[in-house]
Symmetry: C2
Subunit: 203 residues, 2 copies
């Protein structure tokens, strides 16, 4: 299924690895309903144009609540909630693994600010791991947009993550995004890097 022998991928150069902690993207409408104002930037994130907001949010599920969750900007066309497997258990929401933006048919949730609540019909996902890559890096690594690769992460619990989606766009900064469970599994720290070791063959 994976082709590690005949491919021409660059398996030497490393890719920075970041953990995506739980967070929420809001539509402009949902942000207005919750906070009565547009989102307020407090800090730029590694992906150009993305930022952490001053606003925090409460996630309310049938079984539990998670407070003080990060809100990321800018606003999107649809609100989206990205959580971990452990979070899904706390909230009591059976949450599928999806790439960001692919929320059709996913479960809903209740979002709350200090002043209001909003019910989402859908949008709760566990974010599938992926690599943000500008085209110059895609060329360097020998991959193209939508390639699915295996990535070796060094660390105290070294591992190889399969089924990693490559997303190529010149608006991206080179970075692999994993969730908190994957980060814990490799004993992630800020110096953790990955190497592409195989490309999944097209069928």
């Amino acid at each position: 299924m994976y082709d590690s022998t005949t491919s021409t991928i660059n398996n030497v150069d490393t890719i920075p690895v970041e953990i995506s902690a739980r967070h929420v993207h809001l539509s402009e409408q949902d942000a207005m309903a919750l906070y009565g104002a547009p989102l307020t930037k407090v800090r730029e994130l590694s992906q150009p144009g993305q930022f952490l907001c001053k606003e925090r949010i409460r996630l309310i599920g049938p079984k539990g609540v998670i407070d003080n969750v990060a809100v990321l900007g800018p606003s999107r066309s649809s609100s989206q909630v990205e959580i971990s497997k452990a979070d899904a258990r706390i909230l009591g929401i059976k949450t599928p693994l999806r790439q960001s933006g692919d929320i059709e048919g996913t479960p809903g949730i209740i979002l709350a600010s200090q002043n209001n609540i909003v019910g989402l019909e859908e949008g709760v996902i566990i974010a599938a791991r992926h690599i943000h890559m500008p085209s110059k890096d895609a060329q360097r690594f020998g991959v193209v947009d939508k390639d699915v690769v295996s990535v070796h992460l060094q660390g105290e619990r070294a591992l190889v993550l399969e089924e990693v989606l490559v997303r190529v766009n010149d608006d991206f900064a080179l970075s692999m995004h994993i969730d908190i469970d994957e980060g814990n599994s490799v004993c992630w720290n800020k110096d953790t890097t990955g190497r592409i070791v195989a490309r999944k063959q097209a069928f």
Copy 2:
């Protein structure tokens, strides 16, 4: 570092994979201090002779508390607390990755029952992944005691875990033990199995 081409390992047959949730092993002395009586068996576990106890325990760290933690029997010579990275953060205890039993120099913790508390000088670990293997299976897989292998786990988020210790003993049942973070990372379910795909070369 890993030798996947010249080794004679059996990379076809599968190994059952179990998640070790957070739990505590108690010395007889600590069990008596906490519960005023020896441990009470409620259910056999997969490893012969090991059992879940009726008793539950509270873990108290400098930053937080985790309640209702499982106690496993039988008693051991030293008490040992096995937690996840996320648990370590909740408790505020900087916890090293160790194989079970290797607790020298590890952090301590406060244990509490309804009736008493016990302070451990050491014994808090994140349990390093390992495979329990009777010698007949070791022969079948082409490995020996203390081999370090890489194991492919199938699942919605398939991955290869490196640095997996093989422990061969005829008192064991064949089973690979991973922690909750590793289980979440592969989207573990009770049917998850692993295949040994490489053996680390001796140096």
